[in-house]
């Protein structure tokens, strides 16, 4: 089984006003790659829906690649660590 990591799927500036609709659209987008909304809900880490739009989800490398090819997806990039200064 392929290893999953957290990826950030960045969709840019928010297009919808209702945060709930924004999150629903994230689940729909993820479901289109992972097969179902239920699975999408399990994999979703964060829905970014106020200041901008996108989501973080646990994905395999191939799922991340598929998402990056979908229309409206600006970039899919791996989660990474920062440190205190």
């Amino acid at each position: 089984e392929a290893k999953s990591n957290v990826y950030i799927v960045y969709l840019g500036e928010r297009q919808l006003d209702d945060p709930k609709l924004v999150t629903d659209s994230h689940h729909d987008l993820l479901a289109s790659v992972v097969g179902s909304k239920e699975v999408a809900s399990d994999l979703m880490v964060y829905s970014y829906r106020h200041g901008f739009t996108g989501f973080a989800a646990k994905l395999t490398e191939s799922q991340a690649q598929k998402l990056s090819e979908l229309p409206g997806v600006v970039r899919v990039i791996p989660n990474s660590l920062h440190r205190l200064q």
């Binding site: 200041g51 973080a56 990474s80 205190l84 200064q85």
Partner: protein, 663 residues
């Protein structure tokens, strides 16, 4: 902060400064992304504060040892945590057996409590660190409110995941914060401004687009060039300086000569004891006395003070030497080293006193010449004001930016060395809930607090206008009127790559006269000039963007600085200034050209009135040099009777292109 605000001209004793004029930042909300908060600290008392601003939409969330009903108040108005992105990297569950941590906004590390109290802590009188640095601690905007976003976790000194940082940005933008303070960095090489792996660049773009000023640390990788982080032009990037305070620590030798080292030594004076230096033999005789690799014979060390020489400036050399000497039964350590500004206290009152190589060598010669060398180490004292002058800190990361050298970074400098502020009760280096810390992390909330004061006075100013006001009024000279220095090896005159505009001057920034303002269209100009593709820019900005076929010049981005990193013959660039002072104002240009560079400004005089509030001007820089040079520095200042609106000029001639001498 018992001295830093006085150093910056924000003494609470004087009735006419920006602190009083802004009502101490009342009504402004500062969001802090960090390790959380220790809510019981007196620094977060809400005594005397009015109701929570009605526009606040955030939440205070209960969790492990954190009760929203009792721990949030009119000072800490929001507190939440984001850990899912971190756990995905680190693994679940969070192991708290080595480093304590709370699954809540409560701060185990202490860093977040320190930065929050520096930005907006309430007044707490009679605070010191074991008697050192006594005074009143407070934040820059003592009446501003705090929204705590815990995104960093107490693992390996503090780790923060970009997915969590982005979520905090997403929520903070919605919550209604005015200022965001991030004492967080990544590591080199940097990600691009449109790469969400950075997290901070992308999140801050959306925050700034909504009028929220985002203040970030420049990082602690100095004094090497090109180490500055958080370099996006919409971020306010903060370097660290010392203040006019020192902790001199007497070292009295058996021959009655006394030298002053620097330390945080609060233990007892032991009288005269033996003093030794581990002399070596063989091919590398100096190795035995090297602080990083002390070779000690316990029978010779017991009961004595040890002198060692460090070849690295980092604190690790001190820690390693101190533990070696303590294990061997030694009772003190004198470390000869290059200055690194930041002092650390060794454990249990064990004296670790830093001296420079010159004093170290004189002590060594005494040891070698005396039959029975002895020494007396006395506790550190606090010295403030003249003759101690501020320097850019050794560790503070330096420009130019490795992404875009034309965008001057860091922007501004603030106190970040030996700062005493509130901390977690679990912090092992605290005294009664207060600790002395150093880093650009400590400089950042100083600027965040000042931004809150400016926001209270000028609520309609954009983040770029606030940044411009800070840069153009910053101090480049010390209290005696002499240029500032930057610690390094050797110490040198500070330049814009060390300190940006200079050391922040809050009272000047409140009335800058002119500002170099920017909005989303200016950031699009920058993104097009950087060559980012249209769709990425359109998505980031929410505006359909088609960059011109001929990319715009990055030199024309309306920054309060001019940095020409690759001048062949001449270059002309444009800037626009907005009058924020008296409507009828006339400004004249005063040019201090960089060495070997001719600078002309057209028009040379700017006339503002009630209808003319913005004026553009051209700057032409021409080089006399016929070889690749390093950077030369100067300034352009617009002056009238009340104001001096100064921007730094940095120019490097590059006849041979794409040659690796960019620093």
């Amino acid at each position: 902060t018992t001295r830093s605000w006085d150093f910056l001209g924000l003494s609470s004793h004087y009735p006419t400064n920006v602190l009083q004029n802004s009502k101490m930042g009342d009504g402004v909300i500062i969001g802090v992304f960090d390790t959380g908060v220790w809510p019981e600290s007196k620094a977060f008392s809400d005594e005397g504060l009015g109701p929570i601003p009605s526009r606040w939409k955030g939440v205070c969330k209960s969790g492990d040892h954190f009760n929203a009903a009792t721990h949030c108040n009119r000072k800490i108005i929001g507190a939440r945590w984001f850990i899912d992105g971190f756990l995905a990297e680190y693994g679940q569950p969070l192991n708290t057996s080595e480093d304590p941590e709370y699954l809540s906004p409560r701060d185990a590390n202490g860093h977040g409590t320190h930065t929050s109290s520096t930005a907006s802590g309430s007044y707490v009188r009679n605070i010191s660190y074991k008697g050192l640095g006594p005074g009143t601690i407070r934040g820059g905007a003592p009446r501003a409110r705090l929204a705590i976003y815990k995104v960093c976790w107490n693992v390996l000194g503090g780790q923060c995941a970009s997915a969590d940082i982005l979520k905090a940005f997403d929520e903070a933008i919605n919550d209604g914060v005015d200022v965001l303070s991030l004492s967080i960095g990544y590591s080199l090489p940097l990600f691009s401004d449109v790469d969400e792996r950075d997290g901070i660049a992308t999140g801050s773009f959306h925050a700034v687009a909504r009028g929220i000023t985002v203040v970030c640390g420049a990082a602690n990788d100095g004094p090497s060039a090109q180490t500055v982080q958080n370099t996006a032009p919409w971020i306010l990037t903060v370097a660290a300086s010392t203040i006019d305070r020192a902790f001199p620590t007497p070292i009295t030798l058996g021959n009655n000569k006394t030298f002053l080292g620097q330390a945080i030594f609060t233990g007892k004076e032991n009288g005269f004891t033996g003093l030794t230096y581990p002399e070596g033999t063989g091919l590398d005789p100096a190795s035995a006395g090297s602080c990083q690799a002390l070779l000690l014979n316990s029978t010779l060390i017991a009961g004595k003070v040890v002198l060692c020489f460090a070849s690295v400036a980092r604190r690790v050399a001190i820690r390693s030497a101190a533990s070696t000497v303590q294990e061997a039964g030694g009772i003190g350590l004198i470390i000869a080293k290059n200055p690194s500004d930041a002092l650390i206290e060794c454990s249990d009152g064990f004296p670790c006193i830093e001296v420079d190589y010159e004093i170290g060598t004189r002590i060594l010669y005494y040891i070698r010449s005396a039959k029975i060398p002895t020494v007396k180490l006395s506790p550190s004292k606090t010295l403030i004001g003249k003759p101690v002058s501020p320097n850019v800190a050794f560790f503070s990361s330096r420009g130019p930016s490795s992404i875009a050298p034309q965008i001057l970074k860091p922007d501004i400098t603030a106190p970040g060395v030996n700062i005493l502020a509130a901390t977690s009760q679990l912090d092992q280096l605290m005294d009664g809930g207060y600790a002395i810390l150093s880093g650009t992390s400590m400089a950042t909330p100083h600027v965040s607090g000042i931004v809150a004061l400016l926001k209270a006075i000028h609520p309609d100013w954009s983040p770029a206008a606030i940044k411009s006001a800070l840069i153009t009024t910053a101090r480049t000279k010390d209290a005696s009127g002499f240029p500032l220095f930057a610690e390094g090896s050797p110490k040198k005159l500070a330049n814009p790559f060390d300190f940006g505009g200079g050391i922040v001057n809050p009272n000047g920034a409140a009335d800058p006269g002119l500002v170099y303002d920017m909005g989303t269209s200016d950031y699009i100009h920058y993104l097009c000039a950087m060559g980012y593709n249209n769709s990425a820019i359109s998505r980031l900005t929410g505006q359909s963007t088609v960059c011109p076929m001929e990319p715009p010049s990055i030199l024309d981005v309306n920054l309060p600085s001019i940095t020409v990193s690759s001048l062949r013959n001449s270059a002309t660039l444009t800037r626009t200034v907005t009058n924020v002072g008296a409507p009828k104002s006339i400004y004249k240009a005063v040019i201090e050209p960089p060495t070997g560079i001719t600078v002309t400004v057209r028009p040379h005089i700017l006339v503002f009135n009630s209808t003319t509030k913005k004026i553009s001007f051209n700057v032409t820089v021409s080089a006399a040099h016929e070889v690749n040079t390093g950077y030369f520095f100067g300034s352009l200042t617009w002056t009238n009777e009340q104001h001096a609106v100064r921007i730094p000029l940095s120019v490097k001639t590059k006849i041979l292109q794409s040659y690796a001498d960019d620093n």
